[in-house]
């Protein structure tokens, strides 16, 4: 039994070590002074601050970072607002078309973006939104996941609570804003986090709809970064590191909500 415990601990440390090895390699190469050592095993000095300074001093990385932040925070907030309203209404209010809407939302969960990007691009083109922020932002603004997440969570709000508010003469919108939203807060934070992380990593849509470098978010910028920095591996790695920092900060701050979002489909229902 004792030997088993030791074996298990050794295996875990080795396995988690291997899982962290590429992250460690990223840190090492991103801190290198040049491209002479790309093994990513031993620190060759620590030039990370200089490398970051170099990327922020000139070049487009600050633009990509700004665009990604606008994209992810902007659509994240909109997704939270619209999904909160729709998810709550679908869980707690009776109104015409509720069933149809639910079927529509659930149906979209099965669709792959590979089917939708072509017609959505044509719609965006028709709207004159190619190469604009709204073209990048609006089509991915609301997710079926978000509406569904809030609805499932809102089903847990006690009916008596809403009924009591109605008896007291509170209007439906007031009940939503004052009673439902505070109760839904954990679900809304989870939704914002999941949305932010997914959007932060969205390469396909901006690649299709934004040809102008001024509009590129980080994933598209990274895809072209090698040629931008003259095929400098260590600077490309520094840029990858910069890209990984905001999701990392959010994860540390909101770890509980992150796990809740990941396991939503696995544990509930």
């Amino acid at each position: 039994m004792r030997a088993g415990t030791i074996l298990r601990t050794v295996w875990l440390i080795v396995a988690v070590g291997f899982m962290l090895l590429p992250v460690y390699a990223m840190l090492v190469v991103a801190s290198a002074p040049d491209d002479t050592d790309l093994r990513g095993l031993v620190f060759n000095g620590f030039h990370l601050p200089e490398n970051i300074g170099l990327l922020f001093g000139e070049g487009n990385l600050p633009t990509y970072l700004r665009n990604s932040l606008i994209l992810c925070v902007g659509t994240g907030i909109l997704d939270v607002i619209f999904s909160a309203a729709a998810g709550y209404a679908m869980a707690q209010l009776s109104f015409p078309g509720r069933r149809v809407l639910f079927a529509l939302v659930i149906g979209t969960l099965a669709l792959t973006p590979m089917v939708l990007v072509i017609p959505v691009f044509l719609i965006v083109k028709e709207l004159g939104w190619v190469n604009t922020f709204q073209g990048m932002m609006v089509p991915g603004m609301i997710s079926a996941f978000g509406v569904f997440l809030v609805r499932q969570f809102a089903l847990g709000i006690p009916k008596e609570l809403l009924l009591a508010a109605r008896v007291d003469g509170a209007g439906e919108f007031r009940i939503f804003a004052r009673i439902a939203v505070p109760l839904l807060k954990p679900a809304l934070i989870t939704l914002f986090l999941v949305h932010f992380l997914a959007q932060w990593d969205n390469l396909l849509w901006p690649l299709i709809v934004a040809n102008e470098q001024e509009l590129w978010p980080l994933p598209v910028g990274l895809a072209n970064f090698q040629s931008e920095v003259g095929f400098n591996y260590h600077l490309t790695t520094t840029a990858a590191l910069v890209t990984a920092v905001p999701p990392f900060i959010l994860m540390v701050a909101l770890q509980r909500y992150y796990v809740a979002g990941l396991t939503f489909g696995g544990l509930k229902r």
């Binding site: 962290l20 992250v23 990223m26 919108f173």
Partner: protein, 294 residues
């Protein structure tokens, strides 16, 4: 009396319900339902960005099965999906089962596993380009065990496996977290009973853990398969579909046909085939794992 009261409450509820869901309803119609119907229509046309779509019936679908590019992509997607999903889930289980046990060390390790899980795929891909470069970590580690350096991303035999290894690594962190959460939610009494009955570690795992974990496993399997079948980013960032189409997974082929080449009708038809394949595969997985319930 109560009927009257309900009526009085029903109207404001209906108004509020419609008002609160209207933006979402409009959004889903404009950006999901209409595009989905348009994609079905386009798949029966010869639409090419410039010009108007002409109805050509099933011609796109017939063309697909004579197109070596499509057949190659479909096959690579099958290989890529099987070879990423199976090792990822097996490895993630092997880590998650011991990791889900209580203890201070395990709690720290669980926090560390989150780091790879939260790395953006775009950033991950750029890091692995360097790991796979001639003087990168992959060749250095191979050198330690006496194997010659390889051209990971430019060899048509190796490139797909280079992608697979990266994706297994990337998804593993995520799945370890999900499986660990699932394992921690399992009732502890069952394990105590098993221990009293003298059940060994392997028996406990196959007879108790796996069946109880079925729901979480099904979830991981479904998102893993769906993720692999529609994976675009690794092929785009690591190899650009190459060398010689060796990593041209179907989503990449669809994108390349639709956007750089503007064969939108044909790309839409391939998208429909991918969608139908995904729906069938998901249904099979649900059927397979639900079937074990009795």
């Amino acid at each position: 009396m109560s009927v009257v009261l309900d009526r009085g409450r029903a109207r404001p509820q209906a108004t509020a319900g419609v008002a609160l869901t209207l933006p979402v309803a409009v959004f889903f119609v404009v950006f999901w339902l209409v595009p989905f119907l348009a994609a079905i229509y386009l798949s029966f046309t010869d639409y090419e960005m410039a010009g108007t779509p002409n109805w050509i019936g099933l011609a796109n679908y017939e063309r697909m099965f004579a197109d070596p590019g499509f057949l190659n992509s479909a096959w690579i997607t099958v290989v890529y999906t099987v070879c990423t999903v199976v090792p990822t889930i097996v490895l993630a289980l092997l880590v998650a089962v011991p990791l889900s046990k209580p203890g201070r060390l395990n709690r720290r390790l669980r926090a560390l596993v989150m780091i790879p899980a939260v790395m953006p795929l775009a950033a991950t891909s750029m890091v692995w380009v360097i790991i796979y470069s001639d003087r990168g970590m992959a060749n250095t580690l191979l050198g330690l065990v006496g194997i010659d350096p390889q051209s990971w991303l430019t060899s048509s035999d190796l490139a797909i496996w280079a992608l697979v290894v990266m994706v297994v690594w990337k998804s593993m962190g995520l799945f370890v977290i999900i499986l660990t959460a699932g394992l921690q939610a399992l009732p502890g009494e069952v394990y105590e009973a098993a221990a009293i009955d003298g059940s060994g570690a392997v028996t406990t795992f196959t007879r108790i853990t796996l069946p109880l974990l079925r729901r979480t496993l099904l979830f991981v399997l479904v998102i893993s398969v769906a993720g692999s079948m529609q994976a675009f980013v690794p092929a785009f960032l690591l190899t650009g579909g190459g060398p010689a189409d060796a990593t041209q997974v179907l989503p990449y082929y669809i994108w390349a046909n639709a956007f750089p080449y503007e064969h939108m009708g044909y790309a839409a038809a391939m998208g429909m085939v991918l969608l139908v394949a995904m729906v069938i595969v998901s249904a099979l997985q649900f059927g397979f794992l639900k079937g074990g319930d009795e």
